[in-house]
């Protein structure tokens, strides 16, 4: 069972602010789903390898050739805040 406190902690990990008033509703809905996920415990997966990916492709490389990239003004066109050709964000620490 996931508790209200765990919901708030996971919210922090996921960078989603959770108000105290919402935490209970999240906990209930998430628990219903987690409860359903619990049925996988019934499946014997001893010696079964995980499938991360269905295509049998490993390490796709391209030629190491310089190609033109997107112009800086286009890259920055969708941000509200920029400065000297950079994205502007508040301090992280």
């Amino acid at each position: 069972m996931i508790t209200k406190e765990e919901v708030e902690h996971v919210g922090w990990l996921a960078r989603i602010e959770i108000h105290e008033s919402e935490a209970q509703d999240y906990a209930e809905k998430l628990n219903a789903v987690l409860d359903y996920f619990g049925q996988l415990d019934e499946v014997d997966t001893e010696n079964v390898p995980p499938t991360y990916h269905v295509a049998d492709i490993v390490n796709v490389f391209r030629e190491d050739v310089v190609r033109p990239s997107m112009p800086q003004e286009e890259v920055l066109a969708n941000t509200g805040k920029k400065q000297e050709g950079n994205f502007l964000a508040p301090r992280i620490m």
């Binding site: 789903v33 995980p50 796709v60 994205f87």
Partner: protein, 475 residues
């Protein structure tokens, strides 16, 4: 009126009249429609069509209009995943398939409504409000590509493109009575598709008939180095359009006719299978024993991948932004206000499933179950050329019926998600009606054997009338 015309009929109309007239007639229908299926109608469409009239174009889709799901990047045209968090975002580049469509001469009519970030089965979680089912405006069109299916069903576009992570092309195709294909994983480049669950999703075409699906696949399929999972194939999909199923071995998995299936859906699908038999195919029941675990495994994997893929929406580079005293607070508030409830639930669950202490219990376990589900298909395809099932266990449900119960909504995907876990191709096409609502037949094929799936679907269509039925005028 253009409306429900297919590609070859539209080509005649363009030859006799003009591409501009054809595009204008669709825009006229869109303007009158109540379906709420478009998020953006592209104002440049008529001019682009006129350009094709004036300069000529010998591409396979010259002058043919098409609608694009709102999670596929279109240079200069708003692309929002039907989410508040991407309001105002205008991509500076085209998705690979959009480049291909433009090169082929197709005219983009606009972007179609969807469940926010493709997370849903009803197109109700869109920040623009739900799309209505053209067959019954009280019902959902299915999802998440509900807009892409509804526009084709309502004659608001002859063709569209959606994305299918766990059924998001096939479910709305079934609910709206159109044809929708989820190709083999790796067939269509995902470059420019805004990721939700990248190991599961494929872009897929929707249309009123199987031959248009093949025509669209011939344009948008094929290798692209910008998607590292894109596979080199040399398929010519149109070659698969042969009305002949003699000798076709069909497997019918019992698990796909489980509890909760609507009797009318079950009957229609069996009628379809019997028709295949009359046409020279054979069928046998087969078991895919891990089917009942596929749904849980699917949601764990999809949510885990989503928690990572959606980390990029933090207010810094694009879209909605809510300021805060430091970056973490800004990102947390931006995401709290920018994402809708279902997206937040999935990110939280995915984060939880990947977090220390739970990774092995949920995520790793789901990946192992995925292996077993995939092996079920491999086993079945040793004996059969394709599998046939209902696409959805019921016809389209009522608006708001499942909004407050996420798990009930997830359960509707029971017949579509195993296909994405295995990465095999699957098509949904109309096979009957119940109380005026369409029913979808799902045909599943081997990896990269779209040819068999298309041939079976085309043969069915040639010998039935379901695909010719249209909803009452929805405008």
């Amino acid at each position: 009126m253009a409306g429900w015309a297919n590609i070859s009929q539209l080509k005649e109309k363009i030859a006799q009249g003009s591409a501009e007239e054809v595009t204008a007639s669709y825009l006229e229908r869109i303007k009158k429609s109540r379906t709420n299926a478009y998020t953006t109608v592209w104002e440049g469409a008529v001019e682009k069509a006129r350009e094709i009239d004036e300069q000529g174009h010998n591409g396979p889709l010259a002058g043919i209009p098409i609608a694009i799901k709102d999670n596929i990047s279109t240079r200069g045209i708003s692309t929002t995943c039907s989410s508040k968090i991407l309001q105002g975002y205008v991509p500076p580049y085209d998705a690979h398939i959009v480049e291909r469509l433009k090169d082929a001469g197709a005219i983009i009519l606009g972007k179609t409504n969807m469940d926010e970030f493709a997370m849903g089965t009803s197109t109700e979680s869109s920040c623009y409000g739900p799309t209505l089912n053209p067959w019954d405006m009280e019902r959902v069109p299915g999802g998440s590509s509900g807009g892409s299916a509804a526009v084709v069903a309502a004659g608001e576009a002859p063709l569209s493109v959606g994305s299918d992570t766990g059924g998001s092309v096939r479910c709305p195709a079934a609910f709206c009575g159109v044809v929708g294909l989820k190709p083999t994983y790796g067939t269509i480049s995902r470059y420019g598709l805004i990721s939700y669950a990248n190991s599961l999703e494929q872009i897929g075409p929707l249309a009123t008939c199987v031959s248009d699906i093949a025509a669209l696949m011939d344009v948008i399929g094929g290798h692209d180095a910008r998607d590292s999972t894109s596979v080199k194939t040399e398929s010519v999909y149109k070659d698969a359009l042969v009305d002949d199923v003699s000798g076709l071995r069909i497997g019918v998995p019992a698990e796909y006719f489980g509890a909760g299936i609507d009797p009318a859906v079950e009957n229609s699908v069996w009628d379809a299978i019997q028709l295949f038999e009359e046409l020279g195919a054979s069928w046998e029941q087969v078991s895919l024993p891990h089917t009942s675990y596929a749904l849980a495994a699917y949601y764990i994997i999809a949510m885990s991948e989503a928690s990572s893929n959606l980390a990029r929406f933090d207010g810094t580079r694009y879209g909605y932004r809510k300021e805060g005293e430091n970056w973490h607070v800004m990102a947390s508030r931006t995401r709290a206000e920018g994402f809708g409830a279902e997206v937040k639930r999935r990110i939280l669950l995915g984060t939880y499933a990947l977090s220390a202490g739970y990774h092995d219990k949920y995520y790793l376990k789901a990946l192992k179950v995925r292996t077993l589900v995939k092996q079920d298909f491999e086993q079945a395809f040793r004996e059969f050329d394709c599998l046939m099932t209902p696409t959805m266990p019921t016809p389209a449900f009522k608006l708001r019926e499942k909004v407050e119960d996420p798990l009930a909504l997830y359960l509707a995907d029971v017949n579509t998600v195993p296909i994405n876990l295995a990465g095999v191709p699957s098509i949904s096409l109309p096979c009957g009606f119940t109380d005026g609502l369409p029913i979808g037949l799902q045909i599943i094929g081997k990896h990269f054997d779209e040819a068999t799936v298309l041939r079976a679907a085309y043969s069915f269509e040639q010998n039935t009338e379901h695909h010719t039925r249209r909803p009452a005028e929805v405008a």
